[in-house]
Symmetry: C2
Subunit: 165 residues, 2 copies
DNA sequence: TATTGTTATACTCTATAACTATA
DNA sequence: TATAGTTATAGAGTATAACAATA
């Protein structure tokens, strides 16, 4: 997301460090110590990811959190809310409202769990499966855009590295 | 190319994919397609970063956003709110409230800009400089913790890679 | 006309605490 | 006692729109 206003640097030099503002009243703002903080760059990339994802799935009105919930329910039919919340690091209380919304839109169901009366067994409705299929198509395009933004080599490197953590 | 739920655990295999739940009632929850999505892992790391950062700076009550604002003002004394907002990708409207808060706490000042009456020239107060110095110490500990969580090699790889983006 | 800082609004997300029903 | 789901609330963050002062 940083400067597309490339310029007169060595090829290996990060664009951010390239000098020479295009016009006189365009001062270069220093990042200070942030330029050495991994968390700062992770945050910037994550913001880009969410913005692009939300934009690409806007026709379905599916947020990143909603998408991840639909995906995990689909891949683990009958799991409980506590399991889902723990898997995605969502607060149980927040998940309740997320599921209210998805249920109201006809995408998910909460069925009584046969083994434990406290639990709900989560599943997608037929409609939920259909919308998830369409969402996956759009999400794949987002992933392609992300790969293009980063460059295929960096993309693969980051995915392989972060998956191991 | 790294096939996710491939065979039984090779040594290089991510722990997430290792099978064998410790007890019978601890089912393995599948991530589905999320396991191939860079954005998912970026988000998870970013959440960890924020939680650790907030915890480590809780004694100063400085959020990641507040820290980044103080750092950039310190490194660019006299810059305008618009410049600061653009640098950190913060909405101008949001920055106003952030600065209200920091000013109320005595950390920042908005001085009239000599060149342009519409602008404010931002700077840290003496107190702001002191609190930033302490915050930097705690933030450095957070960075060390992040390096330890990821492993030094992965940390360096990620920092170098993301900085280039 | 465009930009800077501002106010206002609405919605989402996060973090807690407390309640109920079940185990 | 502990757990699963729920409700309620407060505080951040995000996204807009509109406005006055100034360029």
């Amino acid at each position: 997301m940083p400067s597309p206003k490339a310029a007169a640097g060595k090829a290996t030099m990060p664009l951010r460090h390239a000098a020479a503002p295009l016009r006189r009243s365009r001062p270069v703002i220093e990042l200070g110590v942030l330029d050495e903080r991994l968390g700062y760059f992770v945050r910037r990339l994550q913001v880009w990811v969410f913005q692009d994802f939300i934009r690409r799935l806007s026709s379905l009105d599916i947020s990143p959190a909603q998408f991840s919930v639909l995906v995990v329910i689909s891949a683990n039919r009958g799991l409980s809310q506590a399991e889902l919340a723990a898997t995605l690091d969502i607060e149980r209380a927040r998940l309740v409202r997320l599921l209210h919304l998805l249920e109201r839109r006809g995408f998910t169901q909460r069925l009584p769990s046969p083994a434990d009366a406290r639990r709900h067994a989560l599943r997608l409705t037929r409609e939920g499966q259909k919308v998830l299929a369409r969402a996956k198509t759009l999400a794949a395009r987002h992933e392609t855009a992300l790969k293009q933004k980063l460059g295929p080599a960096r993309y693969q490197l980051l995915l392989a590295t972060l998956r191991e953590v």
